[in-house]
Symmetry: C2
Subunit: 314 residues, 2 copies
C-alpha cells in the first residue's frame, strides 16, 4: 500500500475510469497506473473496479467504500502540505478563489486590496465559473474557497457561511415605461414587469432560481429574451434595447452605468445571500482564514469561528 496508489485511484475515478486520461493528467504512464491499481486490489484482496473484460466501468460496492477512505487520506495529505507550508512560509503561497463573475467583479474588489496589503506575497487566482463548477472546484481542492449565491449551501462536503446579502434591481433606460411607473408609484409590481422582455442571469446564477420561482409562484411566464452569466453583458444588452435587465444591486453603479437607471425590486424577489464555502475538513492556511474573515460579516463571527476551528483543529 502506498500513497501513489491512492493518488492514482482518486484520479482514475475523477477521469471517469479512464486509465489513459488519468495517466496523462498525472504525467505518468498508463501501464504504471494499471499496475499500481492491480497491486492495490490484490493487497487488499478486494476488487475495486467493475470490469467488463479489460474495460473499467465503475466502482464495485467494496470499491466505493475503499474510495471513500482513500479520498479522506488524500485530503489529509493535502492538509499536511498546506499545514507545513503555513509554518515554513507563513505569508506566502497561493489563494485560489472560485467565484461567479458577479463576485469577482463587484464583491471581491472591496476586499482584495486590503488582503493584498496584508499578504503581499500571496498569489491570487480568481477562477470564474458556474456555482456548480465552483462547488466542484472546491471539492476537488482546485480552489481554496468558493463564492456564489447558489448551490454552495446545499452541496454535501462543503461548509458554507453567509457572506453578504443583496437584492435584485431592474435596469432600464430612463424613458422606459417601467421607470415611469416606478417614479409615479414608488415601486413596480410583477404584473408590470412581466409585460416586457427581460434580460437576466443564466439559470443557476446569482439568484436566477429565485426569480424563476417567484414568477412561477404567481403563474406568470416572463419573456426572458437573453440570459447571461455576467452583469456587464446583461447591462450591455439592456442598453441596446433588448429588454429590461434584472441584476444584482451590487452590480449597478449609477455613475458608470448611465444612461441606465435602476429600480429596486427586492420586494419582489426577496433577499439573496451570497455565500462563501470551503471544503469540509480542509486545513485552512492562515491567510485563507484571514480572507474568510474579511469577506464575512461580523454577525457571522460565531459560526465563522466554529467553522475555522473545525477545519483547523489545534
Amino acid at each position: 500500500m502506498n500513497l501513489q496508489q491512492f493518488r492514482f485511484l482518486r484520479e482514475v475515478i475523477r477521469r471517469n475510469f479512464n486509465l489513459t486520461q488519468a495517466a496523462n493528467h498525472l504525467h505518468t504512464s498508463q501501464p504504471g497506473i494499471s499496475k499500481a491499481i492491480m497491486e492495490f486490489e490484490s493487497e487488499l484482496g478486494v476488487q475495486i473496479f467493475e470490469r467488463h473484460g479489460k474495460r473499467i466501468r465503475g466502482l464495485t460496492r467494496p470499491g466505493a467504500d475503499v474510495a471513500k477512505i482513500v479520498e479522506r487520506i488524500n485530503q489529509e495529505i493535502e492538509n499536511l502540505r498546506r499545514l507545513s507550508e503555513d509554518y515554513a512560509q507563513h505569508d506566502a503561497g497561493r489563494l485560489v478563489i472560485a467565484c461567479t463573475h458577479t463576485q469577482a467583479r463587484y464583491a471581491l474588489p472591496k476586499v482584495i486590496p486590503m488582503f493584498r496589503q496584508q499578504f503581499p506575497k500571496v498569489h491570487l487566482s480568481l477562477a470564474e465559473g458556474s456555482p456548480t463548477q465552483i462547488a466542484e472546484m472546491v471539492l476537488n481542492d482546485e480552489a481554496d474557497v468558493g463564492m456564489a449565491t447558489e448551490t454552495l449551501a446545499k452541496t454535501p462536503g462543503l461548509v458554507s457561511l453567509a457572506c453578504y446579502h443583496w437584492e435584485h434591481v431592474l435596469v432600464c433606460h430612463a424613458d422606459h415605461p417601467l421607470y415611469a411607473i416606478y417614479r409615479s408609484e414608488g415601486a413596480v409590481g410583477l404584473q408590470d414587469l412581466v409585460c416586457y422582455p427581460i434580460v437576466t442571469y443564466d439559470t443557476a446564477f446569482s439568484g436566477r432560481r429565485q426569480i424563476d420561482q417567484v414568477f412561477s409562484d404567481h403563474d406568470l411566464k416572463p419573456d426572458i429574451v437573453l440570459a447571461a452569466v455576467d452583469s456587464d453583458v446583461i447591462k450591455t444588452y439592456v442598453d441596446l434595447g433588448l429588454g429590461v435587465g434584472i441584476i444584482a444591486s451590487v452590480a449597478f453603479d449609477p455613475l458608470h452605468d448611465s444612461p441606465l437607471c435602476s429600480v429596486p425590486v427586492g420586494h419582489l424577489f426577496g433577499r439573496q445571500t451570497a455565500r462563501l464555502a470551503v471544503r469540509q475538513g480542509a486545513f485552512l492556511r492562515d491567510f485563507v482564514r484571514t480572507f474568510i474573515r474579511m469577506m464575512t460579516r461580523q454577525e457571522e463571527t460565531d459560526a465563522l469561528n466554529k467553522l475555522l476551528s473545525q477545519n483547523n483543529p489545534d
Copy 2:
C-alpha cells in the same frame, strides 16, 4: 512523503521519542527510522522534533500539528485494512476485547458463546487491564472494543455506550454482624459498614471511585484492608476473614460462592454503568458491530445505530 514515514513517526512518538525502541518495535533498523524522519522533515520544510543536539526530546509546535494529521492518516489506513478484510473474509478475523477482570469473568460469558456460534471463525482475545490501560489499548488500535465501568466515557477519542447496569453487594460469612443487621433490619447502612475492615476493588476499578466518593461525602473513613482488581481474589480474602467484601453483584453467585453470603448495598453506592467503547472514527467490521449489539441493551438501540453508522459511513 510515504506511508512508512507515517508509521515511523507514530511509533517514535509512542515510544517516547526513542528511535531505537521504535525501530525494535517495528522490526527494522534504527538508521532507517532516522533517515525516514529526516527526509520527512526536509520534504515538509518543517522541523517535527525538538532536538537537543542529537537527542530527540519531543515535538515542536508544527510537529504536534503534523503528528495529529499523520495519526488520522494512520487511522484511515487501519480502516482500509479492516474494511477490505471484512469484504474478503466476511466472517473470519480477530476480535480483541480489552476489559477488566469483572467483565471477562462475569459479563462476557453471557455473550461469548452466542458470538462464537455466529462467528466460529473469529479468533477472540480477551486482554485484561485497568480501565486506563483499556482506554489506551483501544486508542492505540491494540483492541477493537474496550469494556469497563470507569474511565471510558470521559476519554477523548473514544465513543462509548452504556452496556448494562449493576450494583455493589457486600459479601461476608453468614455469622458476620453485618449479615445479622441485614436479616433483622432488611438493609445495612454506611455507619454499620464503616465499623468493619473492607476488602474491595483497587482504585480506578469497577466503581471503586464511587465507593470512595460516597464514604467521603459522609465524612467517613472506611478501613480498606485490601484492594484487588479481581472479584475472585476479593472473595478469597473475605473467606479468609480479612474483612467484608464489596464487589459487583454480577460477581456473586450463591451456589459457587458459599459459604459466603451477599447483602445488597446498591442503595448506598448507587447504580453503576458498565460501558463499552470503540475508537472514534474506527471502521468496525461486521462481527465487531454484531458483538457490540449483543453486549448492548435494547434500549440503547438508537445511540448504538448512530454510533455504528458514524463509524461506518456507508
